[in-house]
């Protein structure tokens, strides 16, 4: 006999750990839409269009159209026909909760389970919807309540307030000769992250900007080598001036 005794839990559309402002049931799919809206809104500063969401989530426009209608009914987004959506305060809370789960999971995977910071995203992206508040909090505790995840993204605290990032500068805007420390590597394709990891560019790394802007390229010197980065990539890397006490 070896039955585990998984007492009744067929859960197609329903049993996730929910404890938010408005206690409606929010599916994993809805959570992903909300996260996407949050990200695009932060990124562009504008209302999020149907097509932007469709692109981001790799889904067709009609699918988005019907989903945002549902989100609007649930009070999670403000929707204006033909004008896209914005998150409501409730919606933003949902986004922050998922983001907290996501980033804590990423931190946990790198710090306790020896994952590389380039590999954590997909795993966290699945688990974020199924982790309870309690588990998130335990992870945070075990990690000493880290303020940022392995990419340098800020982690909302237990009450979902987001510590505001220091005054970071985009690497692409740095000047020749600047000595900087990487604060944050904004999310991008797997290949790009892997390239950066190989190049020695990751949160915490110290760089010297060697050469700027020939043909949309920027060259930096890492402790081990000199690297050229496309401006598109350098735009997604945030740095601060090296303060000269983060030696080895």
């Amino acid at each position: 006999m070896t039955g585990d005794g998984d007492r009744g839990d067929a859960d197609p559309g329903g049993e996730a750990p929910e404890r938010r402002a408005s206690s409606e049931v929010i599916s994993a799919v809805m959570e992903d839409y909300i996260k996407a809206i949050y990200a695009i809104e932060r990124d562009t500063g504008e209302r999020v269009s149907t097509s932007a969401l469709a692109d981001y989530l790799d889904v067709t426009a009609p699918t988005v159209s019907s989903m945002i209608k549902k989100l609007a009914e649930r009070g999670l987004v403000d929707r204006e026909e033909y004008k896209g959506v914005t998150l409501t305060d409730d919606g933003e809370l949902v986004a922050l909760e998922i983001l907290r789960h996501h980033r804590l999971l990423e931190s946990f995977l790198t710090e306790q389970l020896d994952y590389s910071w380039v590999d954590v995203h997909d795993e966290a992206d699945r688990l974020e919807h199924h982790v309870s508040q309690k588990l998130s909090d335990r992870i945070a505790e075990a990690l000493g309540n880290p303020p940022v995840d392995p990419h340098g993204d800020p982690i909302p605290d237990a009450d979902l307030s987001l510590p505001d990032a220091g005054d970071a500068v985009r690497l692409v805007d740095a000047e020749e000769g600047d000595r900087v420390v990487v604060q944050r590597v904004r999310d991008q394709g797997d290949a790009e992250l892997r390239y950066l990891a190989d190049a020695g560019v990751w949160p915490g790394a110290e760089l010297v900007v060697v050469d700027v802007a020939p043909f949309d390229m920027l060259t930096v010197e890492t402790p081990s080598a000199e690297q050229s980065l496309p401006a598109d990539v350098a735009r997604l890397i945030e740095v601060e001036p090296a303060t000269d006490d983060e030696g080895a």
Copy 2:
């Protein structure tokens, strides 16, 4: 800017980490049915009836009827009309894989995140479907490849073979005066587990059987007190003779 950049991942019925014998897509719901079939089959030694599954999963008989048809088509169960199902070898592999995830998660939660063994089940029951092979293996490694989970249930190894349990005896079959160590507490309701935890009965605990069978009750002495347990509960506890070297 604080977008996480969760690149496109709306995943309603689809993107779980799958790498099994027959590479069909197996949903979380299907996984739960398979786990249930495995548990009931182990438990009763007989073909699993539609109604047994319906009871176990808290779902109606027609729902089970259609689902087992699908599982049969996928080659995961042998179905005989009106006679219930058995797992095929493929189905058993799926069950063992999920069981591995489940039990490793339970172990991890208790050992690294300070969960009580009575609280781990629900969390593991959700996460088991969303954990990758890689993550399971990392957890196993971090834990030193434990042979059993916090309830004493054996954990299938990476190749999904199940270490066979020692020759355990049900506590209900012990005799007066026996000094035993609890090996395993079979799954049961939350309330029962909590009761046992309060009573000082958990895997590893040493008990002396004080009194047996008056009115379906059995009385044991724990290090701290004397406890009476209903036979129904004692039937689900497995023990081995104390070998006299598991002192403090």
